[in-house]
Assembly symmetry: C2
Homo-oligomer: 169 residues x 2
DNA sequence: TTGGGTTACGTCCCGCGTAACGATG
DNA sequence: CATCGTTACGCGGGACGTAACCCAA
């Protein structure tokens, strides 16, 4: 029973302020409870793609060049960054037609984003250590064909470890 | 000029083995270069959703319950996990109709995945520290309506800090 | 035979690219 | 007026849910 619902979810963080140690006592009047909420858009929360885009833009400080480096069109970057800002509830970049700058929040988020991306890469590394690994060494020529075949083979049976290397000069 | 291409990318890690310090010397014969490649599917690499699904399944060791906790249907979990395994090139889970277990690789990836998700959460925390924060405290009754209005307001102007709290007993 | 993971298939949403727009120096 | 980020719009692909399948205890 959830039948195509995919309802929007609203995440609510309830911060109950810890009472100061001095004036303890469970007086039954007025426990002020701050509810810090954050809206969760449908689909997923912060997406990796958004972080990658943001880091690239932060590197270049230029949407156009970032888009080029990402091999996508510029508007896609714009939209993605805007969505990330909406999602996080902060402005990450100050845009002016001649200059793009990180905001203070942008700087902090940037650092966290880099770390997050690195952490995700470590997932792949962890997997790679256990995965079947194929090593292909070859001179020029049949290289691409071999690679293609190798890719297919390894995707078929990931745990196999294939090795066909030769020396190149 | 990239015009709807979105070609598949193939990432190739070239590992040039560092020569043992003893037998140094740049002899020009046969530098063996191992090329460890990994195929990159179109679209994005490892996705957060996949990691979330995987962590949940690893918690429950049961696809059905995991799906329930994730508020999605079971097949979605199956497919997602399968895709992740394909992506990473390792089997993460041993499935048998009565029992789901983590593989060795699964255990390692699980640890890395938890860390990655935590890192991503830290992005949100970093943003939240800078964001406009809304605190809503209220008794029962108008709660939902207020929340709705608050959500709209904060999404409109994320930097505003709205605060409308009252005491509840 | 039943519990439970997988495959097939149709549908809908999301994200991209192109094109037009807007703002700022 | 030029540069560069944003909005509008149509389209294709991906992900989900339902349903059917299959396999093991």
């Amino acid at each position: 029973m959830l039948a195509q619902v995919r309802a929007e979810q609203t995440e609510i963080d309830v911060h109950v302020p810890t009472p100061a140690p001095g004036l303890a006592g469970n007086q039954n009047q007025g426990c002020r409870t701050a509810i810090i909420w954050r809206h969760r858009r449908r689909g997923d929360r912060v997406e990796l793609r958004a972080l990658r885009y943001f880091v690239t833009v932060a590197d270049e400080l230029h949407f156009g060049r970032a888009a080029e480096r990402l091999h996508i069109a510029q508007p896609a970057v714009s939209r993605r960054i805007a969505a990330l800002e909406r999602e996080l509830g902060v402005r990450l970049l100050d845009r002016s037609p001649r200059r793009v700058r990180l905001t203070e929040a942008g700087r902090r988020v940037l650092a966290a984003a880099r770390e997050a991306l690195a952490a995700v890469d470590r997932v792949r590394v962890a997997a790679r250590e256990c995965a079947g690994v194929m090593r292909i060494g070859t001179g020029a020529g049949q290289f691409t064909a071999r690679l293609e075949r190798g890719i297919d083979a390894l995707r078929e049976r990931p745990r196999d470890s294939t090795s066909c290397s030769s020396t190149c000069r």
